[in-house]
C-alpha cells in the first residue's frame, strides 16, 4: 500500500510537462477572462511554456516510464515535447505584433496555442490508440480556430474550413483503421500489438492490413504526403503567417514522431506492402512537391510545397527503420523546425498583420515574390536570415539542413533504399531552383526602380521578433557546424525505443 502514493507521485512528476501545459492553458484562460490585456496574457503563456520546458529535465531525472496504458514518457517523447514547446514559444512571440499587439483583443489565441501544443505533446507520448486520437483532436480543433482567427477576412476563413473538412475526413479514416486493427488483434496498445505480431505465425490479416493502410492514409493527410497534399498550399497561404509556421512544424512534427513510434513499437514496419507503398509515397512526395513548387509565385505557397518535399525527405530516413532512422528523423525534424520557424518568421515580420486597418482587417501577408524585391539592400539582416533559412532547406553546408540531409542519406544508404535516395538527390537539385529564385529576387536591385508603383509599407520587426529570429539563425549555423552535441542527445532517445 505504501507504494501507491509514491508511484502516483513519480507518475505526476513524469507527466509534469504535459500537466504544466494544460495548467497554463487554464490559468491563461482565467487571466484573460478577468483582465483582458494581451501583454500579460502573452507573458503568462510564455512563462507556462518555459516552465513546461524546464520540467522536461525533472521528468527526465525520474526516468522514462509508462503512465497508465495511454502515455509513455521516454526520452523519445520528452525530446519531441521539448521541440514542440520550444516551437510554440517562438510562434507565440511571433503572434503578438502580428495580431495587433497591445491594441487588439487576441488573448484567446494564446489559449488555443497552448492547447494545440498540449495536443502535440500527447501525440508524441501516446502509446495507445485512444491517446493518439485524443491528442490528434486536441491539436486539430485548436488549429481550426487558430487558422480562422482573423474571422473578418476571407482567406483565413476559407483556409479554416478547408482544414476542418480535411481534418474531419482524416480522423474518420484513422478511427476506422484503428477499429479494423482492433477487430483483428483485440488490443489498442502499441506495445501489445507489437508483441502479438512478433509471434512467429502471427501476421496482419486483410482486416488488420486494411486498418494499417487507413491509419497511414489518415496520417498521410496530416503530413501532406502526396497524393494527400492538395490542401496544403491553400491552407498555408490562407492562414496567418505565424499560424502557418505552427501547422508546418508542430502539427506535422508531432504526427511524424507518432507514426514512427507506431511503426517501430507496433511492428508495422514488418508489413511489406505498407513499406513498399510508403516508399512510393516518399518518391512521389519528393518529386511532386519540388516540381509544383517551381510553378508558384507566392512565397507562402512555395514554402508549402517545399514543406511537402521536406516531409518526403524525412520519409526516406523514416523508411530505414531502426536506430539510425530515429536519429535521422529526429535530427532532420529539429532542423526542419528551426528552418520553417525562421522562414515563416521572416514572412510574419514583413507582414503588416492585423493592425493595418482600424477595423482589425488585414489585407494580406507579404507573401508575393515582388514584396521581397531588393530586400537584401534595404533590410539586410532580415534578408540574411531568410537566405540562411532557404539555404538550410536546400541543404547547403554551414546550416542544420545540410547535416539533416546528410543524416537522412546516411540512414537511406545504410538501409539500401536506392530508389528513395535517388529521388531525394534529384528532388534536391530541382528544389535549388525555387530557393535560389527567392534569393535572386532578394538580391535584385531594390524597389527604387519601380517608383511608379505604391510600395507596401514594410513593417519593422519588434525587438522580441528580432531576437527570436537572430537566435534561430545562430542555432541553425551553430548546429550546422558542430552537430555533435545534438547527436549525443539523440543517441539517448534511440536506446529506449528499439
Amino acid at each position: 500500500m505504501n507504494l501507491v502514493p509514491s508511484a502516483l507521485h513519480s507518475n505526476l512528476m513524469v507527466l509534469s510537462p504535459l500537466i504544466l501545459l494544460a495548467g497554463s492553458a487554464v490559468v491563461v484562460m482565467l487571466a484573460a477572462a478577468f483582465y483582458r490585456h494581451p501583454r500579460p496574457v502573452m507573458m503568462l503563456t510564455l512563462a507556462g511554456l518555459v516552465l513546461s520546458f524546464a520540467s522536461l529535465f525533472l521528468s527526465q531525472g525520474v526516468g522514462s516510464r509508462q503512465v497508465t496504458a495511454l502515455l509513455v514518457l521516454d526520452h523519445y517523447a520528452l525530446f519531441f515535447i521539448g521541440l514542440i514547446v520550444a516551437a510554440t514559444f517562438v510562434v507565440a512571440v511571433l503572434c503578438y505584433r502580428y495580431f495587433g499587439g497591445d491594441e487588439s483583443r487576441h488573448e484567446a489565441l494564446y489559449i488555443l496555442l497552448l492547447l494545440a501544443a498540449l495536443g502535440g505533446g500527447v501525440l508524441v507520448a501516446s502509446s495507445h490508440f485512444a491517446s493518439f486520437l485524443l491528442g490528434l483532436e486536441l491539436l486539430s480543433i485548436s488549429l481550426f480556430a487558430l487558422i480562422a482567427y482573423p474571422r473578418f477576412t476571407e482567406r483565413p476563413l476559407e483556409a479554416g474550413i478547408k482544414y476542418l473538412i480535411l481534418a474531419g475526413f482524416s480522423s474518420g479514416l484513422l478511427l476506422f483503421g484503428m477499429a479494423l486493427v482492433y477487430a483483428q488483434l483485440g488490443t489498442m496498445q502499441f506495445a501489445k500489438i507489437g508483441t502479438m505480431l512478433a509471434a512467429p505465425d502471427q501476421v496482419l490479416e486483410l482486416y488488420g492490413l486494411a486498418g494499417l493502410a487507413l491509419i497511414v492514409t489518415g496520417v498521410g493527410f496530416k503530413l501532406a504526403l502526396v497524393p494527400f497534399h492538395m490542401w496544403t498550399p491553400d491552407v498555408y497561404e490562407g492562414a496567418p503567417a505565424p499560424i502557418t509556421a505552427f501547422i508546418a512544424t508542430v502539427s506535422k512534427g508531432a504526427m511524424l514522431a507518432l507514426l514512427l513510434r507506431y511503426f517501430l513499437v507496433a511492428g508495422a514496419y514488418q508489413s511489406q506492402p505498407i513499406t513498399l507503398a510508403l516508399s512510393l509515397v516518399a518518391v512521389m512526395t519528393i518529386l511532386v512537391g519540388n516540381l509544383l513548387a517551381l510553378l508558384q509565385d507566392n512565397v507562402k505557397r512555395i514554402l508549402a510545397y517545399s514543406s511537402i518535399a521536406q516531409l518526403g525527405y524525412l520519409l526516406v530516413g523514416f523508411l530505414a527503420y531502426g536506430g539510425l532512422a530515429i536519429e535521422a528523423v529526429a535530427y532532420y525534424l529539429t532542423a526542419y523546425f528551426v528552418t520553417m520557424l525562421g522562414a515563416f518568421g521572416v514572412v510574419t515580420v514583413l507582414s503588416g498583420g492585423l493592425n493595418d486597418g482600424s477595423d482589425g482587417v488585414a489585407e494580406r501577408d507579404s507573401d508575393r515574390l515582388a514584396d521581397y524585391a531588393g530586400l537584401f539592400w534595404h533590410k539586410p539582416w532580415l534578408a540574411g536570415v531568410f537566405t540562411a533559412m532557404l539555404l538550410s532547406l536546400a541543404g547547403i553546408p554551414l546550416t542544420m539542413g545540410f547535416i539533416g540531409k546528410f543524416y537522412v542519406l546516411v540512414a537511406g544508404v545504410e538501409a539500401s533504399l536506392w530508389m528513395p535516395v535517388i529521388a531525394l538527390v534529384i528532388g534536391s537539385a530541382i528544389g535549388l531552383f525555387y530557393y535560389l529564385r527567392i534569393i535572386a529576387v532578394m538580391c535584385a536591385p531594390g524597389s527604387k526602380a519601380t517608383t511608379g508603383q505604391i510600395i507596401r509599407p514594410v513593417a519593422s520587426p519588434s525587438l522580441a521578433e528580432s531576437v527570436t529570429l537572430a537566435a534561430l539563425t545562430l542555432l541553425l549555423i551553430w548546429l550546422g557546424i558542430d552537430p555533435a552535441q545534438l547527436i549525443d542527445v539523440l543517441g539517448a532517445t534511440v536506446v529506449q525505443l528499439t
Partner: protein
Amino acid sequence: MILSALIFILAAGGLLSWAAERWRLGSAKWVALATVGIELVLTIWLWLQSASAMALPAHGGWLAEIRAEWIPRFGVSFHLAMDGISLILVVLTAFLGMVSVACSWTEIQERAGFFYFNLLWTLAGAVGVFLALDLFLFFFFWELMLVPMYFMIAIWGHEKRQYASIKFFIFTEGSGLFMLVAILALVFVHYRSTGVLTFDYFELLNTAMSPSTELWIMLGFFIAFAVKTPIVPFHTWLPDAHTEAPTAGSVILAGVLLKTGAYGLLRFVVPLFPEAAGYFAPVAMALGATGVLYGAFLAFAQTDFKRLVAYTSVSHLGFAVLGIFAWNPWSLGGAVMQMIAHGISTGALFVIAGILQERTHTRDMRRFGGLWSVMPRLAAMGLFFAIAALGLPGMGNFVGEFLVLMGLSRASSVLASVAAVAFVASVVYALALVQKIFHGENTHGWQLHDLSGREMATLYSMAAITLWLGLYPQPVLDTAPGIANRPPAIAVAHREGSAE
C-alpha cells in the same frame, strides 16, 4: 596548424572586409588584398620549406597534417593534409586570388564589402577542397564554395546573370549530391567489411569491393568531378557561368574551381577505385579527347570574347583528363602542369576581357578591331596569352600538353593522335582572337586608355609565370607527380585493368 590557418585567414579576411566596408567605404579591397597577400606569402614559404622536406622519402610525401574529431558519431574528423599536388594548387589559388582582387579594383563599385566577402570565401572553400582528406569534410568544402560563387555571379554578373548563376548552382550542387551518395555507399561498404565507420581517406583507400559496386560508386564520384572539370557532355553550365560572371568570378572559376574537379579525379577517383578506374579509363579518355576537340572547335565559332575563352577551357581541361586517366608519370606531370598553366593563361585572358569590357562595355569581338593602335600594351599582352593558350613552346601550356601527349601515346596512340589535332584547332581560334580584336583598322573609332600600372603589374606577373613554367618547369614537376610514383600498387592494378 598551418593548414587550418590557410583556410581561416581567408574566411576571417572575408568577414573583416565586409565589416570594413560598413565602417569606411572603399576599405574592403585593401583588406582583401592584404588577406590574399598574407595567404600567398604563407603558401610560398611552405613551398620553399617543402623543397627540403620532399627529399626525405620517410616523410611519405605529406608535408603537413592536422586531424581533430568533428562528428564522432559518424567517424567524421577535421582532417587536413598537404602533399605536393595540393601545395601547388593552393599556391595557384592564392596567386589567382591576388589577381582577382587586383582586377576587381575599379570594376566593383557597388556593395564592395559583400563582393570581397564572397570572393574570399570562395577561395577559402577551394583551399579547403584541396586540403581535405576526410570525405565528409571534402564534400563540406565542395558545396561551401558554390554559395559565394553563386552570389558573385548573381549580383555582380552581366546581362544574363540570373540564368547563368542558377544553372551553375544546380549543375554543380546536383552532381555533388550524387557524389555524397557515392561517398556514403563507399563508407558503408567499408563499414560492413571492417566494422569501422569512418570517412577518412587513408582508411577508405583499400576498401575491398565487388567490381560492379566499385564501378557504381566510382561513377557517383566521376559525375561530380566531370561536371566541375568539365568533361563533355557535362560542360554546358560553363560557357554561361564564365561569360556572365564578373572578371574576378571568371578568373576564379577558370583558374581554381575547374581545378577542383581535375584534382578530385586525381586524388579520389583513381586511388580509391583503381580497378574500376582502370576499365573505365578508355571511356574517360575518349570523353577527354572529345572535349579537347569539341572545345577548340566551338571556341572558334564564338563572337563573345569571354565565351570563346570559356570554350578554350573545355579544350584545355580535356588534356588534363586525358593525362589523369592515362596514369603514368609523364601524363600525370603533364596534367598537373596543364592545370597550373591553364589557370594562369586563361585567367590572364579573362583579365584582358574584363579590362576591355570595363572600357568599352562590350565583349562582342565584331565590335572591336584595330585596338593595337590604341592600346599597344594590352594588345601585346593579348597576343602573348593567346599564343600561350595555343601551346607555343616556351610557355607553360606547351609543357603540359606535350607531356600529356607523350604519356598518352603509351596508353593509346589513337587518342593521342586525335588530341594532337587540337594543336591545329587551337592555333586557329587563338589567332582568330588576336586578328579580330587587335589587328586591322580601328573602324569603330575606339579611343581607349591603355593599361594602368595596376593592370600592367597583374598581367606582367602572369606572363612571367607562364614563361617560367615553360622554360623551367622542373620545380613544379618535382613537387607534383609524387602522387604518380608513390602508390605503385595502384599503377600496377591500373595497367592490368587497362590491358584487358
